[in-house]
Symmetry: C2
Subunit: 240 residues, 2 copies
């Protein structure tokens, strides 16, 4: 694949991992998709960069000193290394899933991916439209966890359900039949934890009757919890 | 107080709330500290801005149409309104507390403040050095929740403990004596939930013997949870 190192756009066939930690995760988990690794000259002394270079040597992956290219695609940050990788598509597999309907915040998405992995949920379904998981902001905020999960986009929730009819659906919404404290009684594997968009949540009419609706009890002092916090608490409770 | 509307700096005696929602929270919770409200001309049609203007009229707070000033201090965002407020210092009060040791990420801080409020913990202690809670990034990411909590800085953890010797200390760290699943047996009010810096966590030698140490059980697939997620899960469990 010929790549032009330009600021990332969604329609690119390749993406970038900025920083030592995410780039190491890329090399360890998706070596077959790495196109090349770029490093800054001043990063050559860095221990993490040296490990990356060694790993590339062992795996026969190209490493370039490319200060100009890195500066061209970095925003403000100082990046010693950038991985360039071929985007890939995956299918999620049967088991417990996290389902995000129309997620739009890239920082949230990365944090959520990392949190899901922390609670052993390695399959993420995104109902379109949704944020581009290969955007460098997502890759970075996931700390490279993106390379350890399976992620699949679906055009509608129905399409997702048709693919996994055996899953028990739990929809998280403010107006719900159950509270998360009930989880130990109502949870049943394989489960799908379903969350709506950061701003608008789940459309109630659409989701009624799909499964069991759950709210996370919270004070009236705030409108709602941040999406990534709500997902984290739900994953924690379902993983108990 | 004479204010010059310039990009925010930590040493300013005043701060800014960007956006309709945080500015309404400012007006509702700290009206005595509002210096003035600025609005964009094109925002005058906006329902939220109109509510803000009405409220200012009732409370005798100055409103200025100030497109240039707003553009000067906004980064990329499009803000219809900005509140200018006098910074205030507060003392936290006896009860359950959240204690953050050397927090450094502004977005995390705002999310954490909002989450604490959601779980009825309204007193936040920050052990210096720590992020400036009046930075517009914190104010914004808290969605204005900053104006509903009490926050106090302490020079050291000892200073905090001297002020609240009756609190039961729970330190969150990866290498701990208890897991969060034990919380229902070991939790005792008033409690202080103590978390370290985003990158380095709590210094173990320093915190040993201070209280009960707790870890949030997680898979080995990630190094650690994001700080705001860990705080959210702990608050949820202690609030059960």
């Amino acid at each position: 694949m010929t790549v032009q190192i330009k600021p990332y756009k969604k329609n690119f066939e390749y993406g970038y991992s900025f920083g030592v930690f995410p780039t190491m995760e890329l090399l360890e988990n998706r070596p077959e998709d790495v196109i090349k690794i770029m490093v800054m000259e001043k990063g050559l002394e860095n221990e993490g960069v040296q490990k990356i270079i060694e790993k590339c040597r062992r795996e026969g992956i190209a490493v370039e000193i490319a200060d100009k290219a890195i500066n061209r695609i970095s925003k403000k940050e100082n990046n010693y290394t950038v991985g360039v990788f071929r985007k890939y598509t995956e299918h999620i597999v049967p088991g417990n899933h996290l389902v995000l309907v129309n997620p739009s915040d890239m920082g949230n998405m990365g944090t959520i991916i990392r949190t899901a992995l922390g609670f052993k949920v390695q399959d993420l379904a995104i109902i379109r439209p949704g944020v581009d998981i290969f955007d460098p902001k997502v890759v970075r905020s996931s700390m490279g966890a993106i390379f350890k999960i399976r992620c699949e986009y679906f055009d509608s929730f129905e399409d997702y359900q048709d693919a996994f009819p055996e899953n028990n659906i739990y929809t998280f919404m403010l107006n719900a039949d159950y509270t998360l404290a009930d989880a130990k009684e109502i949870k049943s594997e394989p489960y799908s934890l379903v969350f709506g968009n950061e701003g608008s949540g789940l459309d109630e009419s659409y989701f009624s009757g799909l499964g069991k609706s759950i709210k996370i009890e919270q004070s009236s002092l705030i409108d709602s919890l941040n999406l990534s916090i709500a997902v984290g608490i739900a994953l924690y409770e379902f993983n108990r």
